[in-house]
Symmetry: C2
Subunit: 406 residues, 2 copies
């Protein structure tokens, strides 16, 4: 049984980027940059007015109020048709280029239009006031996005500004997903006898998509070696193979035997994590193979801790963890009797200057309800059997933390 | 000019859910539940073994080691074929139903198989030990997911467990997007004269998608009333119309005039926010209309603060804000000279027990580079012109906070 840290290190050391492709801007969102991006221009490309008002020479406004002659107008998108001389003002709109000869803009609220093409500048301006000088945001040639950066709407604005209508991003991994278990029936069916509904199939497929990968469901296989083997065979072409179930002490040999028959090199098979513990990681050529526990909360949590981190790396992320860890203050005790590193369902919220956590009552690693009610997982090390109210502990924020009111 | 709080209240009071539809589980992910979900079963549906080992009567193990007779085996998915009597043990796998007559499971590591179909129970067990009793996770009829909940992988596991292969979720709003400005050229083009590239189109379309809505781009319109009107005409069938540009003091009348011509009731047109200030919100029948500023950072930030919150509500979210606000400690001063509520680009990270923030140098509300480098927006109220290092302030966490290593 190896530690979470050692297991993650092994996983990440095997998770190299699987390749890149050029995509257009809308398709780049959610992907990881496979190149660093430089601006092809100074930005702004000209001295730009930051206010609606009048372009002036600042020295002409000393001792304001001062009256200047309005010699023209320049709107966003226009090029000024002439330079500005002393004593002159040009009406200017936000985003328009400041005419040569002008060095400041006075906002319209601090001016007064006069008859006969004149304007009174009511307050003096300093040189550069309300002007964004050419190149103040970025210089031509500057790296404006690093390789490995996840593309989000703000990064799309940068790509567009830098002249990149297409960009190179990491390829999305194809992830074959096989759920195993004699006890599983479809969610639409009513379980009888010892059956339960298959919740890992829908949850893990969605986790694969959320991690930016493509899910290729192989369905559900019963605990029978030849059936598991047939499904694994169909999943061998994918970048990653994820199985759930069949790895606990009782049934473990089944999945291990199948993986061995296909030449999968197993790199670890138990991790000191709760929920989890039985957790197989291996590889077959460049394909990564994860055998997750069958218990639904164990499957979801070990996916978040290990598989997600790997999927992001395969796409070119440079991150080392897939979820932020923040320190929180406990409002009630959390217990960990597992002698493994525990990820306990918790509700984290901001309380003034503190992030505070309350435990969520859970009936164990099959309690999908407790897990769905959590917005974070409180992390207690193996030797920390109890953390009292008032103590601090790290919490891994789940995406739900981010979706709700914190 | 109204406050951010008043403006958000007006927006949310107009943003009622637009309807619901039944979808299958994979399609439910990212949507908001339009019904409360109840379990149709006790879960687990039977007393379930939580370990691989032996089902026993706890009283038979008192004074262990004790030797019991193994009378059978039950695996996950099987129904026990007979009850267990005193002196007997049944080999059992994780997830299998505990046979009638047994009240505990001893894990296999604390047992020793003996010849002649016997097993030594090395350590005594308590009644209920390693057994998840029927209904301990949820009772038939229990509400297991509230209406308004965003469906994520963990919620999919709950839906599957509760027997819901289909579920009712809020309809995705269709959002028509029109970018205006004479100065705009396509990202693939090289701007000349007073031109700049259109970054709002790609960024806002991606923000619409990220908020769970469907973007219907109307392209770019120059600052000409009839061109804007023609585009708005095409966008009238959508649930929401988002425009960017044409709302600042200089050009404001253009967009206002077009909206007025189409019978849009304007509910506010200036908000005390920086970046932003010019920000039009109105409605036309059930259609919501947002006129965002043209400056790209202003457009992205006001989208996150107002439009995203509205889009979530239209889908059935019960939240009141679209991004979590957490209190952070400042590592360097932040300044707000705007006399408006400021959302300043910041980098927030966890430092031990504290969330700390450093400012990101920005050249203003067109500086898409500074905005893309931020993972949070530090919020300073209008009257808080400076916050010194060591002081606290709220920060609105952007999605990027969540994507990177915090």
């Amino acid at each position: 049984m190896i530690s979470v840290e050692s297991a993650l290190e092994i996983v990440l050391s095997r998770a190299d980027p699987i390749g890149a492709e050029d995509v257009s801007l809308p398709d780049a969102c959610g992907r990881y940059l496979a190149e660093e991006v430089r601006s092809d221009l100074d930005l702004p490309p000209f001295d730009r007015a930051m206010m609606d008002g009048y372009a002036v020479r600042a020295s002409d406004t000393a001792g304001a109020p001062r009256t200047l002659r309005v010699t023209g107008q320049v709107r966003a998108g226009q090029q000024p048709d002439r330079a500005l001389a002393s004593g002159e003002a040009v009406q200017i709109m936000t985003g328009a280029p400041v005419p040569p000869g002008a060095d400041a803009v006075q906002q319209v609220e601090k001016t007064r239009a006069l008859p006969d093409g004149q304007v009174e500048i009511v307050e003096a301006v300093e040189p550069s006031q309300n002007v964004a000088p050419r190149g103040c945001e970025a210089r031509a040639g500057d790296v404006v996005l690093e390789a490995g950066r996840r593309v989000d709407p703000a990064a799309l604005a940068v790509l567009a500004s830098a002249g990149r209508a297409r960009v190179r991003v990491g390829r999305r991994p194809r992830v074959a997903l096989l759920v195993t278990g004699d006890e599983l029936v479809d969610p639409a069916e009513r379980p009888v006898g010892g059956q339960i509904r298959n919740s890992n199939g829908p949850a893990l497929a969605a986790q694969i998509l959320e991690a930016g990968a493509v899910a290729e469901p192989l369905g559900v296989a019963p605990d029978a070696e030849e059936r598991i083997a047939a499904a694994v065979q169909r999943g061998l072409g994918a970048d990653v193979l994820v199985l759930s179930g069949g790895v606990s002490a009782g049934a473990f040999d089944l999945v291990e035997a199948v993986l061995a028959a296909f030449g999968v090199e197993v790199l670890f098979e138990r991790v000191a994590i709760k929920p989890g513990a039985p957790l197989v990681f291996g590889r077959r050529g460049s394909q990564l193979v994860f055998g997750l526990p069958g218990n639904p909360v164990s499957a979801q949590v070990t996916f978040d801790v290990f598989v997600r981190a790997a999927l992001e790396r395969l796409q070119g992320s440079r991150g080392t963890a897939s979820r932020p860890l923040v320190d929180v203050e406990l409002l009630a005790p959390f217990r960990n009797r597992s002698r493994r590193k525990a990820y306990l369902p918790a509700r984290v919220r901001a309380d003034g200057t503190r992030l505070v956590a309350t435990p969520i009552r859970s009936a164990g690693s099959a309690d999908v309800f407790a897990h769905a009610a959590a917005n974070a997982l409180l992390v207690l090390e193996a030797d920390r059997t109890e953390a009292a109210a008032g103590e601090h502990a790290p919490a891994m924020l789940l995406r739900r933390f981010f979706e709700g009111d914190a």
